[in-house]
Subunit: 185 residues, 2 copies
């Protein structure tokens, strides 16, 4: 049975363990085994906090090495881009030659989110945009930073989820990734 690493900021949810369970059950429905990050399941027996953090990172990297594919929750997290931990994981998976899929529960493209949410953005005479630190805004009609759109093996599946509390929990687009993977396998 193919193993799928379930990357995403889901690990930060108050019901993170249950969210992992829901994702694992959906994986089973399509004949896959879901591997959920170990952020919340490692016992705190470390003298220094940092050692525990690095241990979790190592444990997650090991799960990614074991998997056949990654499905990443790329819903923008605390800003206009996907969670950086998740993004590191899809980069790692790509380098390890795993299949990488992603979904986002935000329907806007990257430029639109930046225009909606950053303060101090200005348009220049050549029509391009810069932020308050005079740094360019990407304008490629993509879902996120071009390295993310370019990194995944299929276009990122978008779903507009309006309910705040459900933004990171909704699994319709996640299930669409599973279907795509099942058709590919």
């Amino acid at each position: 049975m193919k193993k799928i690493y379930l990357a995403g900021p889901d690990v930060f949810l108050s019901d993170s363990i249950e969210q992992g369970q829901r994702k694992k059950e959906l994986c089973q429905k399509y004949g896959f085994e879901g591997l959920y990050p170990l952020d919340n399941e490692i016992e705190d027996t470390f003298e220094h906090k940092a050692d525990m953090g690095l241990h979790i990172a190592q444990a997650n990297e090991k799960l990614i090495q074991e998997c056949d594919a990654v499905i990443a929750n790329l819903t923008p997290f605390r800003g206009t881009s996907a969670d950086v931990g998740t993004v590191y994981e899809i980069g790692l998976a790509k380098g390890l030659n795993k299949m990488v899929l992603g979904y986002s529960n935000d329907g806007r493209n990257f430029l639109q989110r930046n225009l909606d949410e950053l303060t101090g953005v200005r348009q220049q005479p050549n029509a391009s945009y810069i932020d308050k630190e005079n740094m360019a805004l990407e304008d490629f009609d993509l879902v996120d930073n071009l390295m993310i759109d370019g990194g995944v093996h299929y276009p990122i599946i978008k779903n507009e989820v309006y309910q705040t509390g459900e933004r990171f929990r909704d699994l319709e687009a996640f299930e669409a990734c599973l279907m795509r993977l099942a058709n590919h396998a």
Copy 2:
């Protein structure tokens, strides 16, 4: 001569090309060849913007495949974490078994930045913190998300750069990474 891929949001600076030149010259000083991302050097001959973005991503992935090491500018970008494009690249490099080093021109740890910059953070009875969407704040005394600190081969080099305009340009911590790499090689 060893090749170093120069990852970072430096590509979004108004003087991005010159910043790349400065980094390449510092690489030479230590006997390395610097490879700078091609975001600003690919000719726009594409019918659709998205195709150009994906082409840049592919060209950067190719440069990372060619390099021996990556030095990543992990200075927080438009939020409390490193630029996601940069983070994807260090993940990819790690998966491809390249040496990965990083620096940040922000001296704070990740929890402190989140406490300073996120709105609506609350402390819970068990002393942990949650954000306005009830999602946990990482508290591991690390520089960024644990996957980033866990991903680099040496602890991220921090330098406190106070001048706003210099935050992404200052190269002292970058040069410290070069020295570390030169000693390692």
